[in-house]
């Protein structure tokens, strides 16, 4: 009789330990995934800052060759400052899109200045900016990947119970609003 009781109590203890251990593992897993998504988000900012830092150099270089284009140059600077001072995620997305547009028109007008196009400094800056653009796009892609892993996990049973208890909420995906930015840019030579 005493033996049977001991065995049952032992089994209950083991079960309890297993459940507590499982909860701890799941909780830590959720923390890891959430941290990864947060880190991915801050990586986007690192890349955006690279672009902000390159723009004054670019504007200075272009000024030397294309004095009459001050309107476009001012637009680029204004767009950069708006993007840097944006306070919400939505505002920033809009401002970044505007900045990309003004940069595109800046590079389009450079076509009219052969001297500018031959300038080594300008070419290097152009290369670096387009490289930075792709790094921004890739860091956003990684943020979305991490966000998907995290969002899927907190909706899955049994993680969903823990997520509700400890207020793990879904993160928002980074969306690109302008439809033309989704596909590759088409250049026509006609």
């Amino acid at each position: 009789m005493g033996d049977a009781l001991a065995i049952v109590l032992g089994l209950i203890c083991c079960l309890g330990l297993a459940i507590v251990g499982g909860i701890i593992l799941m909780y830590n897993g959720l923390i890891t995934l959430r941290g990864r998504a947060e880190n991915a988000w801050s990586q986007i900012d690192v890349q955006l800052r690279r672009r902000y830092d390159l723009i004054p150099n670019l504007v200075e270089t272009v000024k030397g060759y294309a004095k009459h284009e001050s309107q476009t140059l001012e637009a680029v600077i204004a767009a950069r400052n708006t993007a840097m001072n944006a306070s919400t995620v939505g505002e920033q997305a809009v401002a970044e899109n505007a900045l990309t547009q003004t940069l595109r028109s800046l590079f389009a007008l450079s076509e009219a200045y052969p001297d500018l196009k031959a300038n080594q400094n300008f070419l290097a800056l152009q290369e670096e900016l387009s490289g930075t653009e792709s790094m921004i796009a890739r860091s956003r892609q990684f943020y979305n990947d991490c966000t998907m892993d995290y969002n899927n996990k907190i909706q899955m049973f049994p993680h969903s119970i823990l997520a509700n208890m400890f207020h793990f909420t879904e993160r928002e995906f980074f969306k690109i609003d302008e439809p033309e930015a989704r596909g590759p840019v088409h250049v026509s030579f006609s």
Binding site: R36, A40, Q43, Q47, E127, E128, S130, G131, S134, M135, A137, R138, S139, Q141, F142, D145, C146
Partner: protein, 301 residues
């Protein structure tokens, strides 16, 4: 492509499981056939096992330096190779690993490989021919394939497999020696277990001959699964499977052999750099799946 990633992970895990099981079976059968009390034999096996592990550790920690040296590769900067630099930097952001160091081999044969024991020590090496012959999307496909190898720690994974294959080969070799030189002595002592003992002895003899071949075949199969896994993950990293598919086709049609590669390093490249394929062993004994199979898998994503 998520399905392809999951499937290839699972299959390579299964193969490693089989290989481990096979190693245990081989060890058990030989141990049984040779019999208890052979302390010398078991000690020998222990020494062989330790040797294999030490050799594996040396290749694990030093392989990147050794491989880069014999391939005469040199490190490049952003100023020198902006295309390569930005492809590596931006794709490692998408892959979520620290950017690996970029190396270059001066050779017009297009090819690439990755090495390094973990993502913090990653190295990507491409030939100048690869940079000349591929466009941006194709180059990104190749770089993403190599980044996937680094992220999956395939250098570590494959050295583990090589150690197991090596231990199986050593065990078989020792067993063969025992049957030739030690078998008579044991029969003389008269402690053989009758019919069951005889069956195990025959099984052990057969295994001693076949085990190294079987282990080698499993190793090649694992390697092929890891290649398909890296292809599928590259598609996820670039979000453009066609880029890698186009690159693989281009690399296949390029007939120029890579001079910096040899038989010891050939398995590391994205496609076979020796261009000496042919013969019936090609299918079972190659480290990479046929290009057509890889292209089809990518185009189906």
């Amino acid at each position: 492509m998520y399905e392809a990633i999951r499937r290839n992970k699972w299959r390579s895990f299964l193969l490693v499981f089989f290989l481990t099981l096979f190693l245990l079976v081989v060890g058990y059968v030989f141990g049984h056939a040779i019999g208890k009390g052979e302390a010398g034999g078991i000690g020998g096996l222990g020494i062989a096992g330790i040797l294999a592990i030490v050799m594996a550790l040396v290749s694990y920690y030093g392989s990147d330096r050794i491989v880069l040296a014999i391939s005469s590769a040199r490190e490049v900067t952003r100023e020198e190779q902006p295309r390569l630099y930005y492809a590596v930097e931006s794709l490692s952001l998408a892959a979520g690993i620290p950017p690996p160091r970029a190396f270059i081999i001066e050779d017009s044969a297009p090819n690439a490989f990755a090495t390094g024991r973990d993502p913090e020590h990653g190295v990507i090496c491409v030939t100048t021919g690869l940079l000349d012959k591929l466009d941006k999307l194709e180059l990104e496909g190749v770089i993403a394939h190599e980044l996937a190898h680094i992220r999956n720690r395939d250098v570590m994974f494959m050295s583990m497999v090589v150690v197991m294959v090596g231990v199986i080969a050593l065990l078989s070799d020792l067993a063969m020696r025992y049957f030739f030189w030690g078998g008579g002595r044991r029969r003389g002592r008269g402690d053989s277990g009758g019919q069951a003992g005889a069956i195990i002895l025959v099984a052990a003899l057969l295994l001693a001959v076949l085990a190294p071949v079987i282990a080698g075949l499993i190793r090649m199969a694992i390697s092929r699964k890891r290649e398909l896994l890296a292809d599928a993950e590259a598609a996820k990293i670039t979000r453009y499977p066609k880029g890698l598919a186009d690159a693989l086709r281009k690399l296949e049609y390029d007939t120029e052999p890579l001079e910096a590669a040899n038989k010891a390093t050939a398995h590391m490249y994205i496609v076979n750099p020796l261009k000496d394929l042919g013969g019936f062993v090609n299918g079972l004994y190659s480290t990479h799946p046929p290009i057509a199979e890889r292209v089809n898998a990518l185009m189906a994503m």
